[in-house]
Amino acid sequence: MAANILVLIKQVPDSEAMVQVQADGSGVEIEDRYTLNFFDSLAVEEALRIKEHQGSGTVTIITLGTQKSIEALRTAIAMGADEAILLEDPAFAGGDGYATAKALAAAIKGKEYDVILCGREAFDDSSGIVGPLVAEFLGIPHITSVIKIDLSPEEQVVIVEREIEGGKEIIKTPLPVLLAAQKGLNEPRVPPVMGVMKAMRVEIKKLDLAAIGLSQTEAGKAGSLEEILRYHRPPVRSPVTMIQGTAADAVKQLVIYLREEAKVI
């Protein structure tokens, strides 16, 4: 039996991208270096593996964003996904995790799916709340920090391993379910050349606010619960004290510093 899989992804700044907080704290400037969020690439990979294992099915990639996000959608198509959907509307701008999840859930409602996959968290925001919120709005269970997925579409169940501190939980659930990928789930493939060529030609399906049936007050800044007050630069650490001398002397001095100056041991 075929498995229909939806994958929620996000285009995020590369970890090396420069981020500068504006002096008045009103915003941040981000260097133009974007990439498909790492944990989302695990989700795409897993969807493809499930489809390949089953021998049939569809993998549909969904993101909410701007024209810039198309790059991430194309990366997923290049890896082997079948279809890509971009939720794009000026009304989506400035939305928090709650508003984003509302929009994604609205776009998903009415679609046929067995599993929704997403990453554990997005690199930029690191909250990891959109996945569970989408599941809540759709009324399906979710499991986060997933490191193994054993799907049996015939029986409409999945057995999942979830990473917890110091171990793992093994959970069984009927489909549909939303699963958030943790590192260790798989090694994402490098898109093959043929895939990259296909991705350049593929049509990205676009959905605006009206198409997903939400009102202006439910989307973007108006539909958000979290208000940003201001941005700050992170505190700066004092310059390092390099301890000189032979290894034996340096180690003695370090222990003195840690005991008497820093008082941490």
Binding site: S15, E16, V19, V28, I30, F38, G97, F123, D125, S126, S127, G128, I129, G131, L133, E136, F137, I140, H142, I143, T144, S145, E163, I164, E165, G166, G167, K168, I171, K172, T173, P174, Q182, G184, S224, L225, E226, E227, I228, L229, R230, Y231, H232, R233, P234, R237, V240, T241, M242, I243, A247, A248, A250, V251, V255, Y257, R259, A262, V264, I265
Partner: protein, 330 residues
């Protein structure tokens, strides 16, 4: 009646987690400013002793004591907490940002139609009594202050090791309120099959006071025994870089960094690791950082308080010896 401040009390192997105690301290402070009561949320089976313990910190303990909540099940916990929140309308719900809380509370927020701030580095009250939560963006390259004005309760998960452990004064005074687990089992789809947990003497990385992390400079998995020895004498937990985990020398559970854990110990010892940005993002809020690396230009020195340029295979045994000496003296 003013609405309460709630703190989720997570426990493991019959012990309240350290991060929960930290949040109980913070919750007490915030409840004091607001002039309201603080309640601890306790779910478990046969946990009277934990309720007693919590009563020393909190004005009230909401105790769900039932085999149904012996183990964490997202859907069961969600219903129990959300139902009680709908009844009592608390002002705040606070918890440590553990894997359990990060699984559960976004969903609680969704159910209660309210906002949630995750991995907070500070929690303060604005003049209007709203909670201002500071959380990191872009792996800590920026911080942002957020407030949730529209929903109730405001929910925040704080990074472990951010707030000090509270003092306990006097005998338990808090009132213990026993609650029944009234769960619509139709809506419970998740079935826990098994929890596999290795027996560990040390705290998990996210709660550890001291961490010693090894990078690719350790050269082999076997060489981590040196770090284990150092950790033993410091009472530390051993961490690893992405490179080390990807080489299969240590499990992913040990990884510090952007695709691993974010840690905030009082002492972080970085050994034989260069300090790649994705690593630094996972440890930059550590209070004191020591770097040991043979390359004087390794970026980790820019994020360290104390640095030793040297061969770790020479430095580590000496450091272990030196620390042992101090212990002997008492």
């Amino acid at each position: 009646m003013a609405s309460e401040v709630w703190v989720f009390a997570e426990h493991q192997d019959g012990v309240i987690r350290k991060t929960s105690l930290e949040i109980l301290g913070k919750g007490r402070e915030l409840a004091g400013h607001l002039g309201v009561e603080m309640a601890a949320l306790l779910l478990g089976s046969g946990v009277d002793n934990l309720a007693q313990q919590l009563a020393a910190y909190a004005d009230k303990v909401y105790q769900w004591d039932d085999p149904l909540v012996r183990q964490y099940n997202m859907e069961v916990y969600l219903q129990a907490i959300a139902n009680q929140a709908e009844k009592e309308r608390p002002h705040l719900i606070l918890a440590g940002a553990t894997s359990l809380a990060r699984d559960l509370f976004p969903r609680v927020a969704g159910r209660l139609k309210t906002g949630i701030a995750v991995d907070c580095l500070s929690l303060e009250l604005g003049e209007d009594g709203f909670l201002v939560a500071r959380r990191p963006l872009f792996g800590g390259k920026a911080l942002v202050d957020v407030v949730c004005c529209h929903g109730r309760p405001q929910i925040a998960l704080a990074r472990p090791n951010t707030f000090p452990l509270p003092d306990v004064q006097g005998s338990p005074k808090g009132k213990i309120v026993l609650l029944g687990v009234e769960v619509d089992t139709e809506k419970v789809k998740l079935e826990n099959l098994e929890v596999v947990r290795s027996v560990r003497e040390r705290l998990d990385l996210i709660e550890a006071e001291i961490i010693v992390t090894g990078g690719s400079g350790m050269k082999t998995a076997e060489n981590f025994s040196l770090l284990e020895d150092l950790a033993e004498i410091l009472g530390a937990t051993v961490g690893a870089t992405r490179g080390v985990v990807d080489s299969g020398w240590r499990p992913h559970d040990d990884q510090v960094g952007k695709s691993g854990k974010t840690v905030s110990p009082k002492l972080y010892v970085a050994v034989g690791l260069s300090g790649a940005i994705h690593h630094v993002m996972g440890m930059d809020t550590s209070k004191v950082v020591v770097a040991i690396n043979k390359d004087p230009r390794a970026p980790i020195f820019q994020y360290a308080d104390y640095g030793i340029q040297g061969d770790l295979f020479e430095v580590l045994p000496l450091l272990i010896e030196e620390l042992k000496k101090g212990q002997g003296k008492g």
